[in-house]
């Protein structure tokens, strides 16, 4: 309590029992909170901290950071609003939630941008300082229409706090400047929300301590304001309710919290450790894929080599060079970068070299909406190159699944000597969830062997001689007797010499396709995620829509509808039984965050009259809109 400046609210420590009695404790199954403020207000950090603490507490969680492309858009404007939504509960949580229960807004622009996502009767915690005339003007709200005072928020439970003023008061003696002090505002909000939901602040205090270990003053200030937020909740009469959200009933085991891009990086590292090859990641910074580079670059002691190339083309080409030399080679980007890499993916296909291409998809075409999610690069992965150029395509369905599928991408690339696409998207890349992480021994083995050296009397090395998987041998430079030339010109089968022979070209084209097809022997069969094996309607999804589709299916089944959900993670080739699964349903619906891509491939391959359901708003599906659509189709 000593941390709190008494000028702004009464020190009620002596009256604590009285006030505690006035606070009602409530049990909730799940809660959705959205933190929103200016991009400089630290809402992403606030959200991440609350998520970590909540995951540690044992709730199931799903998060959704939603931020603008501009690093610091004009302060106070709608364009600059940055949001972070977290859904946590004592039950299984599949999505960050359709509507929020609590909306924290640091200014009027944040309120304006997010109010439509708050359920009626929800709580608004508003920083009143962000509703002054300057902020009103910046957010294009007329002077006489201050939402905090004009009655327009009457359907909500509004808590107005001058966060700026309290933070400044709490740090009056800190010796810090106003600008620096104001940067601590988000900690006040975090502390208050911790109080509301009975969360332990220790993890955040440790985080602040380590983050600002080199700046004692800033460290102390952040901790002080965090505690001030907590104390504010406890000592003022403003909050009549506190909430308990019990730990979730989850599968037993050890858990941690993980974000998608982080999980992808770990999957790549794990594959490198398991196959025993150094990892080379050639890349060029691009939203939303850069965090994979940032993460990987921390682990040089794992023999992880990250190379920030001069452009996207150099990024993939350096990886091809590394693959030639015997490294586990990865390149990573997002759609626009993948477009630039197209020719080199074709080269890797001709070279029949192991290469993983990571695409963290974002809304396109062209620059599109860099920080917004979309699943519109499936066709690009499938067909986006010159000539007949089939590659393997995998897609992760959730933040933690990025680990599994990135690992799988490496396994398949190495075992089949083939380029593999690993598709993620902005939504799962930045989202977080609890992860029952595996132990190294649990992971599938990846055996790699290079061609051994040859003596002069041995038969000549044939670089395009194939094994039963149709993959060619990996013969790395430096190995005596294996000198050979490869390249982008068509190869004669077996010898690898240049060949312009038409029959050979047709043969090689078929071999490259069959090689992809044979990967189907080395991937799991398709399963139904939720629901029965047969029924009236199958929701067939892929990628980051998993959570929303699962929740929607559960709701529909709860209402007695005969609906099932299957989620495809192996997109080329498909699992061998996918066609059979589709035939067991009267109707197949394919919801996608694009204009209809998987649906086209499904129709083409299986002659199924699959129905597309598309959303192209840079935002994930809400379970509710999927439920409505399915009911409409079944009606």
């Amino acid at each position: 309590m000593s941390l709190i400046d008494k000028r702004y609210f009464r020190d009620v420590s002596s009256e604590q029992d009285f006030y505690m009695a006035k606070t009602t404790e409530n049990e909730l199954e799940s809660v959705v909170i959205r933190f929103a403020g200016d991009s400089g207000d630290g809402m992403q950090l606030t959200g991440t901290q609350f998520s970590n603490t909540t995951a540690l507490f044992g709730n199931d969680i799903a998060t959704f950071p939603d931020f603008p492309a501009e690093i610091r858009a004009p302060i106070g404007t709608l364009a600059g609003v940055s949001g972070y939504q977290i859904h946590f509960g004592s039950k299984k949580i599949n999505t960050p939630g359709d509507m929020s229960d609590v909306l924290v807004v640091m200014n009027v622009a944040a309120l304006k941008a997010n109010i439509k996502g708050l359920r009626k009767g929800g709580v608004i915690i508003a920083n009143s300082d962000g509703f002054d005339s300057k902020n009103m003007r910046l957010a294009n709200v007329p002077e006489d229409k201050n939402p905090l005072t004009d009655g327009s928020l009457s359907e909500y439970d509004v808590k107005t706090i001058d966060v700026t003023k309290i933070t400044r008061a709490a740090l009056a003696d800190s010796g810090m400047g106003t600008k620096e002090i104001d940067r601590c505002k988000n900690m006040f909000v975090l502390g208050l929300i911790y109080w509301m939901y009975h969360r332990d602040m220790q993890s955040s205090i440790e985080f602040i301590t380590s983050k600002f270990s080199k700046n004692q003053a800033v460290m102390n200030a952040n901790i002080k304001v965090l505690q001030a937020g907590w104390s504010y909740g406890e000592t003022t009469e403003m909050f009549a309710n506190r909430y308990n959200v019990a730990p979730a009933q989850m599968e037993t085991g050890i858990y941690r919290s993980i974000m998608g891009n982080q999980a992808a990086a770990y999957g790549l590292i794990a594959a490198s450790v398991k196959c025993g090859l150094p990892l080379f990641y050639g890349t060029y910074p691009i939203t939303p894929a850069s965090d994979i580079l940032h993460e990987l670059s921390k682990y040089k002691n794992f023999d992880i080599k990250t190379f920030q190339a001069e452009d996207e083309i150099a990024a993939i080409c350096s990886s091809i060079g590394a693959a030639f030399g015997g490294s586990l080679a990865i390149t990573g980007s997002s759609g626009p970068g993948i477009a630039l890499k197209g020719e080199a993916i074709g080269l890797a296909t001709m070279l029949e070299m192991p290469l993983v291409v990571v695409n963290v998809q974002r809304a396109g075409p062209s620059t599109g909406m860099p920080t917004k999610t979309e699943q519109a690069d499936l066709m690009q992965a499938m067909y986006g190159r010159n000539g007949e150029c089939p590659v393997v395509i995998l897609a992760a369905q959730s933040p933690s699944d990025c680990f599994t599928m990135a690992y799988e991408a490496c396994r398949i690339a190495l075992q089949h000597m083939i380029p593999v696409f690993f598709l993620s998207d902005g939504y799962i890349a930045n989202g977080a969830e609890p992860w029952k992480f595996p132990q190294s021994d649990d992971l599938p083995e990846i055996k790699v062997s290079f061609v051994p050296q040859r003596a002069a009397e041995d038969p000549k090395f044939m670089p395009y001689q194939r094994d039963e998987k149709l993959s060619r041998p990996w013969a790395i430079p430096g190995t005596k007797g294996l000198e050979h030339r490869i390249g982008g010109l068509e190869k004669q089968n077996i010898t690898g010499n240049i060949s312009y022979d038409g029959d050979n070209h047709e043969l090689m084209t078929h071999l490259r396709q069959e090689k992809v097809d044979k990967v189907a022997n080395n991937i799991p069969l398709q399963t139904i995620d939720t629901g029965a094996e047969t029924g009236d309607l199958l929701i067939l999804g892929w990628g980051g829509t998993y959570g929303a589709l699962k929740t929607a299916t559960t709701i529909l089944r709860g209402e007695g509808l005969n609906v099932s959900h299957a989620h495809v993670r192996y997109l080329n080739p498909f699992p061998k039984n996918l066609g059979d699964i589709l035939k067991n349903f009267k109707t197949v619906v394919v919801p996608e965050l694009n204009n209809g891509q998987l649906v086209k491939i499904i129709r083409d391959k299986y002659f199924v009259d699959a129905i597309p359901f598309n959303k192209i708003q840079g935002q994930p599906f809400m379970s509710d809109e999927v439920v409505r659509k399915i009911k409409e189709i079944l009606a």
Binding site: R256, V273, P278, K305, I320, F324, G478, R485
Partner: protein, 341 residues
């Protein structure tokens, strides 16, 4: 010297593939000189890797019995960077042309030089696009009439040596297809350099740009039109070695040795970047009056810039030493975990 390597001959470096450049092409000479130099380097054959882009010159790796990759247009530099970064034990060579390196691959080219991996670049400059049958290239002279420029090209050409110096290359040299001895010596020096060595080779395309370098290669004009640079020696040229270059402040002037003593001439110093920059600008049209002779030899060497592959791998070593080898289970568990019973 490795015993096996010592026994190698130029024939050991020739692959079984039929060489398919046009008869009379300057590329034959370069192939021959490389195959002649390699056995003398004392390295086993399997350690050599030739990587090329696209263009006539880029067929080169197919004719070498080493490891090789004929990649895509302009990207050999990037592929070589990835290979050398991960396999510093290999001797990596990049074969490129004027279009491959300075048009479509211009970006990778300057970044290669900036980073300075220990690789060797042989730039076959024929001032024309040969493989696509005769369009002007980024080194073609302005006004060049080609299939794509019937009224003459309006583009100004690159000065490749000046470009490389601008990109902070650490070894920059020029040689010519018609001078095998000089070529061999320069290629050998490029190999010996620790860092990226850039050797521009004037190479005649006898089909689409025949005679482009005749004035520098033909006996009748060679002595008058070329300046053969040698470290520590004065810059002398001319039919009877009767002309020299003198520096008047920063301004080079051609002088007659009848008027000026040899002692007053500019003495070539490969390690002097300022002088290399000046001499790289001896790039006049030989038809111009009072033009400077075209320099050949090593313009500049910088042995003080550490290589990319060294620096890149040093960080890996350092990380392993300070943090210890990575432990996967520890990584996956992270800082904070909780148990569900």
């Amino acid at each position: 010297m490795n015993e096996i390597a010592a026994k190698l001959t130029s024939k050991d470096f020739a692959s079984d593939q039929e060489v398919r450049w046009c008869p009379g092409c300057g590329d034959y000479s370069i192939l021959k000189q490389v195959q002649t130099v390699l056995p003398d380097l004392g390295r086993p054959r399997e350690e050599f890797v030739f990587i090329s882009g696209i263009g006539c010159s880029s067929r080169f790796p197919y004719y070498m019995d080493t490891f090789g990759m004929h990649s895509i247009h302009g990207r050999a530099t990037a592929i070589a960077t990835g290979l050398k970064a991960t396999r510093p034990d290999l001797s990596v060579w990049i074969i490129t042309g004027d279009g491959d390196s300075m048009s479509i691959g211009g970006n990778h080219f300057i970044h290669l030089l900036r980073r300075n991996p220990d690789v060797n670049v042989l730039l076959f400059n024929n001032q024309i696009y040969g493989l696509t049958k005769g369009q002007y290239s980024p080194t073609s002279e302005q006004g060049k009439v080609t299939k794509s420029s019937p009224m003459g090209s309006v583009d100004y050409p690159f000065n490749p040596i000046a470009l490389c110096l601008g990109a902070d290359a650490t070894f920059v040299a020029r040689t010519m297809d018609r001078d095998p001895k000089h070529q061999q010596a320069i290629i050998k020096r490029g190999y010996d350099h620790k860092g990226t060595s850039l050797v521009e080779i004037y190479q005649n395309c006898n089909v689409f740009n025949d005679g482009a370098y005749e004035i520098y290669t033909e006996k009748s004009s060679k002595k008058e039109e070329t300046l053969m640079m040698e470290h520590g020696k004065p810059l002398i040229f001319g039919e009877n070695n009767d002309k020299g270059i003198k520096l008047d402040g920063f301004k080079p002037v051609i002088v007659s040795l009848n008027d000026v003593s040899v002692d007053d001439l500019w003495v070539h110093d490969e390690t002097d970047l300022v002088k290399a920059t000046i001499i790289s600008r001896f790039y006049d049209d030989p038809g111009k009056e009072n033009h400077f002779p075209r320099p050949f030899g090593v313009f500049y060497v910088n042995n003080n810039k550490r290589t990319f592959d060294d620096l890149f791998n040093e960080q890996i070593t350092e990380a392993k030493e300070t943090k210890g080898p990575g432990e996967l289970n520890q990584l996956l568990a992270g800082r904070e975990t909780w148990v569900v019973n």
